[in-house]
């Protein structure tokens, strides 16, 4: 659905994004992540045909965003950051205006407005003036606007920014509900939200892609840093000898735990999953195994790790 290759955008004296390439397949929900100023909004603006790219190729549904701009815009539902709306219009009137602007016929626009208002929970506030609505409702109006012409691709720039937890949950449910019929590219820096909504992430940092993978793929990417924790009742010397002999373990640390148990923190070599090996070992030696866990990285850990300034890493 989206193909971006070597995309670069320079503003006067500053490179906002540099050599960015990624793909989004039809029906996917992809999270565009990154700290502020990473280039998320610029990427989305280029995809939505608002800004031209300085160089590189951007295709949406096989069409070039620069040459076939109007056709691409017909297929995109775009909700910019901060969700700008006309505060003087009524909800229904605004959505109808937007539907007509997006080329829907009078009758179709009426039907579509009814549908998206119901889909976004706006039916009760249809006659209210947008300027007087709460932020949560305004956000839903923005989403309804992006959806009104049944676009193939939805580009949502920080759709949950400034919302309370209940509203965030509602918007998240809405986006998840769109997964079957739409392709969604959503930018956010609220990571638990992205973790719950997206099938795949593209992580931008200082205008470059740091990682682009599925949540599991990112876990694998980070697994070099992940440890396995095993609490075993066995003599400490036996444990030490075992871990030293196992070639799969790069580093280990043993500390006494409650009772006869020792808590072993084992760092694998090459991102291996040590858990089956440890289980086998405990079984063959007749050790009692009380706990066996692998530290899974949250998206937050991955994010922090990948977007850490170089000086800090050193």
């Amino acid at each position: 659905m989206i193909e971006v290759a070597n995309l670069t955008k320079r503003f006067a004296g500053r490179t906002a994004i540099s050599n960015v390439s990624f793909e989004v397949k039809r029906g996917e929900i992809v999270g565009l992540l990154g700290p502020n100023g990473a280039g998320k909004s610029t990427t989305m603006r280029i995809l939505a045909c608002y800004l031209p790219a300085s160089s590189g190729m951007v295709h949406v549904a096989g069409l070039d965003v620069f040459r076939d701009s109007v056709e691409v815009r017909r297929r995109i539902g775009y909700m910019p950051e901060n969700n700008p709306l006309h505060p003087d219009m009524r909800v229904r009137e605004y959505l109808k205006f937007r539907a007509r602007l997006k080329g829907l016929r009078r009758r179709t626009s009426r039907e579509r407005v009814d549908t998206v208002m119901e889909q976004c929970g706006l039916t009760e506030v249809g006659k209210r003036i947008i300027g007087q609505l709460s932020k949560g409702f305004r956000q839903r109006v923005g989403l309804a606007d992006a959806l009104v012409h049944e676009p193939e691709l939805l580009i949502l720039d920080e759709p949950t920014i400034g919302l309370d937890p209940n509203q965030i949950r509602a918007v998240r449910q809405l986006i998840k509900g769109l997964a079957n019929s739409h392709t969604v590219l959503v930018s956010t820096h609220i990571l638990p939200e992205a973790e719950m909504t997206c099938n795949r992430f593209v992580l931008l940092y200082e205008g470059r892609i740091q990682a682009a993978d599925t949540p599991d793929g990112l876990q694998r990417l980070m697994s070099g840093h992940s440890q396995v924790i095993a609490e075993i009742a066995a003599p400490q010397a036996d444990l030490e000898e075992c871990w030293m002999q196992m070639g799969e373990i790069e580093h280990f640390d043993i500390s006494p735990a409650q009772g006869d148990y020792f808590r072993c923190a084992l760092t694998p070599r090459d991102g291996l999953d040590l858990r089956p090996l440890i289980f086998e070992l405990a079984r063959s030696r007749g050790w009692i195994l009380r706990e066996l866990t692998r530290n899974r990285h949250s998206l937050e850990d991955i994010f922090v790790q990948l977007t850490k300034p170089e000086s800090e890493e050193e």
């Binding site: 939505a48 045909c49 109007v70 815009r73 910019p80 700008p84 205006f97 937007r98 007509r100 602007l101």
Partner: protein, 250 residues
């Protein structure tokens, strides 16, 4: 075409649904009212053979209303959208830049025409109370309005350009005012150099747009003036289009 009409309606709606729209209408009604009093004063003096509209044109009110009203009408067109961010949502819908420029221009021009409708009422009042049927000549009224629309079109297109250049409505209004006054001053300059036979004076005379309005108020439609004003309007609309397109220049 659908997008054009939708946008034009929306822009017109924004004028008639907002307080600003009514403030502009009230202010221009006030000025038209004052000018009407001035007109009545002049009529009370010696009999004048000139049509009512020409007498009106000879007052200071006409250029003042045009020069003051047009930048206030046009200042919000692009600047407000850019400031509030709705310009981004507008330009990411499948509408062409030309449709956007034309729709905004048309809406502003229609609103400008509405501002001038009370003038018809003023002239009808004079006819009613003076019992002089010739006070309202539909031909002269038509040509006066044609002149008002042509001049308004030019200044509205200039105002649109000003609004497209900035995010600040105040800056847009200031630029619009400066453009309007420049056009007015060109007329004065042409008046001063009217006796010269140099080519510079002749060129200046061509651009004395407010002066050319006098013919329209007399009931004369001068094609030279029509062509000049229409071409200048089209030129500034083209400039406006290029300003809007410039965001997509690499």
């Amino acid at each position: 075409m659908r997008a054009y009409w939708t946008l034009t309606w929306r822009e017109l709606g924004a004028y008639f649904l907002s307080l600003t729209g009514y403030i502009i209408i009230a202010a221009s009604l006030f000025l038209t009212g004052l000018s009407f009093i001035d007109l009545l004063d002049r009529l009370r003096g010696e009999a004048m053979p000139a049509p009512l509209t020409e007498i009106y044109f000879n007052t200071w009110w006409f250029p003042m209303i045009v020069v003051l009203a047009t930048p206030v009408i046009t200042m919000r067109l692009f600047a407000q959208e850019k400031f509030s961010g709705t310009f981004e949502t507008l330009m990411t819908t499948p509408v062409s830049d030309l449709q956007v420029v034309l729709a905004k221009f048309s809406a502003a021009l229609v609103f400008y025409i509405v501002l001038w409708l009370p003038l018809v009422g003023c002239v009808l009042l004079v006819r009613h109370y003076s019992n002089d049927q010739s006070a309202f000549d539909s031909g002269i009224m038509g040509s006066t309005f044609l002149g008002i629309i042509l001049l308004g079109g030019l200044l509205v297109s200039l105002g649109c350009c000003a609004s497209a250049l900035t995010r600040s409505q105040v800056a847009a209004a200031m630029m619009g005012l400066a453009f309007g006054f420049s056009v007015l001053l060109l007329g004065f300059l042409a008046d001063k150099t009217a006796t010269h036979a140099s080519w510079q004076a002749q060129v200046l005379a061509c651009f004395a747009i407010f002066e050319q309005m006098r013919d329209f108020a007399r009931g004369m439609v001068d094609t030279q003036a029509v062509v000049l004003m229409v071409s200048l309007t089209l030129f500034f609309l083209f400039v406006n289009l290029r300003i809007i397109e410039s965001r997509r220049w690499k």
